[in-house]
């Protein structure tokens, strides 16, 4: 029995998970917490989220054998060890969907694709470089500008009839594109879907370049966005016919990094204990 926690310090939100693993490979969840940072001090949000997770799990810090950080969490003072984002997202994705063989993590300021083997070993990965129009923050900004609540974005995108793509690679210029669309009277749903489509094109490119095959799980903050899911499926069907991919999402996709960190933490704890013993 090993209890481990994963803390994923992101640029948009802090995610915490507490898991227990058994010798038989059972993985039991005790807590999942996600808290947007929104201009607060990330270290404060991290501590609060951590305490909230302990509360949900009904535990105290001493109960957790290994606290693993990921994302930007290298400096969390009470952590035992750190794993990097792609390692943990792959692990977390596998936990959420054991059939997943590739992961598309769309966070607030980045997007990345990983191809992994059945044990979540990352075989290949690609990240979006420099420019940021294909990320969560961008969608969030645009949604705010359009006055659409974040959780409605997906549903509204699905209702679009004549989507119009944004062309700019830069998030700022893309914003201008959107402003122009509004002024031309383009329907909000169509704009949202247009954004999803251009994001999806980039994501399809990422997935293709890592050679994704089989089930692809979307993780990260955008994983619940059904509109994105739909356009990504369309994009892959069109642009990557030869890939046999099936894109899925998961209710808990946003926690994938935190879950993966906890599971790797538990593994590492047991590994070090074994090493100690021998």
């Amino acid at each position: 029995m090993t209890i481990a926690a994963g803390i994923d310090v992101g640029s948009g939100a802090i995610k915490v998970s507490i898991y227990e693993t058994g010798p038989d490979g059972a993985e039991t969840r005790h807590a999942l917490v996600a808290e947007r940072i929104r201009r607060r001090d990330p270290t404060v949000v991290t501590r609060e989220s951590w305490e909230l997770a302990l509360k949900h799990a009904g535990m105290v810090a001493g109960d957790v054998a290994y606290v693993a950080t990921t994302g930007d969490g290298e400096n969390v003072p009470w952590a035992t060890g750190h794993f990097y984002g792609m390692t943990t997202h792959a692990r977390g994705a596998l936990h959420l969907d054991p059939t997943a063989r590739a992961v598309l993590d769309v966070g607030s300021l980045h997007a990345r694709a990983m191809k992994m083997d059945p044990r979540s070993k990352v075989l290949k990965y690609r990240m979006t470089s420099q420019c940021a129009s294909g990320t969560g923050q961008f969608v969030e900004n645009i949604a705010r500008y359009l006055g659409v609540p974040a959780e409605d974005v997906g549903a509204r995108s699905l209702q679009a009839t004549e989507p119009e793509m944004v062309s700019s690679i830069c998030a700022v210029l893309a914003e201008t594109d959107v402003i122009n669309m509004v002024s031309r009277g383009i329907d909000t749903n169509d704009i949202l879907k247009g954004i999803h489509m251009s994001m999806s094109l980039r994501f399809a490119k990422l997935l293709r370049s890592v050679g994704a095959d089989g089930v692809v799980l979307i993780t990260g903050g955008q994983s619940r966005d059904v509109g994105l899911l739909a356009t990504l499926r369309e994009a892959l069907a069109k642009k990557a016919k030869n890939l046999q991919v099936e894109v899925r999402n998961h209710e808990q996709g946003i926690y994938a990094g935190a879950i993966g960190a906890a599971l790797w933490g538990a593994w590492r704890h047991d590994y070090l204990a074994r090493k100690e013993a021998s």
């Binding site: 750190h82 990097y84 390692t87 070993k121 990965y125 990240m127």
Partner: protein, 395 residues
């Protein structure tokens, strides 16, 4: 207890970070009031032996790094050209290269090639020389042309007030550099054997200082470092061993090298200083050898396989890197290229193909000498090291 090696590196750091090249100006001033001369050269490779033989101080100019604010340099280069030339222009216009009496532009790529012409226009009073290194690698064709080109350059240096580059003098200089080559390789060997004793950022500083210091002084410095670093007792960590390749011209900022190390990688071989290690073996010149020809021959036969040199028919590109991986017992390769660097970036698919054929893990990214955000690179290098570490143990 202070670590003499660290103190030495501090000295190197001070020399490297002194963008005004005061140490060069100091070297030029003789006690009898006369002046010696110094000649700068750009990456990747220039035979410093010739400059040395003319009695000049060869000074490698690789850009201002992240400490230099670029204002005028950007006025000469579009955003899609690598960072190196703008930084060099900035230094030139800002008077930071005033200590140099001339500048040599080797035929590394079109950017440096065109920079040679820009230099003539911007600094009409300074000597500027374009050194066309041969791309036809047959000794009778490229070799002859190159030896002749070097002779021309030596004549120019003479005209600039240098000593006549006689065969004897040039042989002497080649010997001095042979010694330097030997010690350089020893330092790299120590890092290969015990990367915990020779952190790459230290080695990097040490070698960078060699672009500025007189070769004799630098050899001494390296010997000292070698002695003291080999006595270190640092504990080896469970980090994967990697090779960094592709960063042979524009240099990454120090923060980037440190980031790679912090993300859990032992760098056991790199090509940051490819130009200084271009000729891989001592020339071991004899009194019978015609020294210009010997330099040309060494260039054709024993130089590093850089992206800036034509890769002749025969062994596919990347095989040399694969060999290096084996020799260094490296577990992976990090391909780091300057943004917009055609030579480095166009090579990459051929190199990764070779690595893939051998099942050697690799990862790649781009940088600029003034990259300020290392987050993405840290993630990437960290994941790379995670995947090597976790999976070599887990499987």
């Amino acid at each position: 207890m202070s670590d003499p090696a660290s103190a030495l590196i501090d000295r190197c750091e001070a020399i490297v970070n002194d963008l005004d090249h005061t140490s060069v100006a100091d070297w030029k001033r003789q006690s009898d009031g006369t002046e010696r001369k110094a000649v700068g050269f750009l990456p990747v490779y220039v035979p410093r032996e010739v400059i040395h033989a003319a009695g000049f101080l060869p000074v490698g100019v690789v850009g201002g790094g992240d400490a230099l604010e670029i204002i005028r340099g950007d006025a000469y280069f579009q955003s899609y050209i690598c960072h190196l030339p703008r930084s060099i222009i900035e230094m030139g216009l800002g008077g930071k290269l005033d200590a140099l009496d001339g500048m040599i532009f080797p035929s590394t790529c079109d950017v440096i090639r065109n920079l040679s012409g820009m230099w003539q226009l911007l600094f009409p009073d300074k000597w500027a020389w374009y050194l066309d290194v041969p791309q036809n690698l047959s000794p009778r064709l490229g070799g002859r042309f190159y030896a002749h080109d070097l002779q021309l350059m030596a004549k120019e240096l003479e005209g600039l007030g240098g000593l006549e580059v006689t065969p004897e003098r040039l042989r002497g200089s080649i010997e001095v550099y042979d010694v330097h080559r030997g010690i350089t390789e020893d330092v790299f060997a120590l890092r290969r054997e015990a990367p915990e004793k020779v952190p790459t950022w230290e080695l990097y500083m040490l070698i960078r200082a060699g672009l500025i210091l007189p070769v004799e002084d630098h050899s001494e410095l390296m010997v000292e470092y070698l002695e003291s670093a080999s006595k270190r007792t640092a504990k080896r960590r469970d980090n994967p061993r990697v090779i960094v390749a592709g960063a042979f011209c524009e240099q990454p900022p120090m923060g980037l090298i440190r980031t790679l190390e912090r993300a859990g990688c032992y760098i056991v071989e790199d090509d940051f200083s490819l130009g200084q290690r271009w000729l891989r073996e001592p020339l071991r010149i004899t009194d019978e050898d015609e020294p210009f020809g010997a330099l040309a021959k060494a260039f054709l036969e024993h130089s590093a396989q850089g992206a800036t040199r034509f890769h002749p028919d025969g062994e596919p590109k990347g095989e040399e890197l694969v060999r290096q991986v084996r020799e260094c017992e490296a577990e992976g390769v990090i391909l780091a290229s300057p943004s917009f660097c055609d030579p480095s970036l166009l090579d990459r698919p051929m190199i990764t193909a070779a690595l893939d054929r051998e099942g050697i893990p690799w990862t790649g990214f781009k940088y600029a000498e003034n990259t300020g955000q290392f987050q993405g690179i840290r993630e990437q290098a960290g994941t790379f090291s995670d995947s090597i570490r976790l999976w070599s143990e887990a499987s």
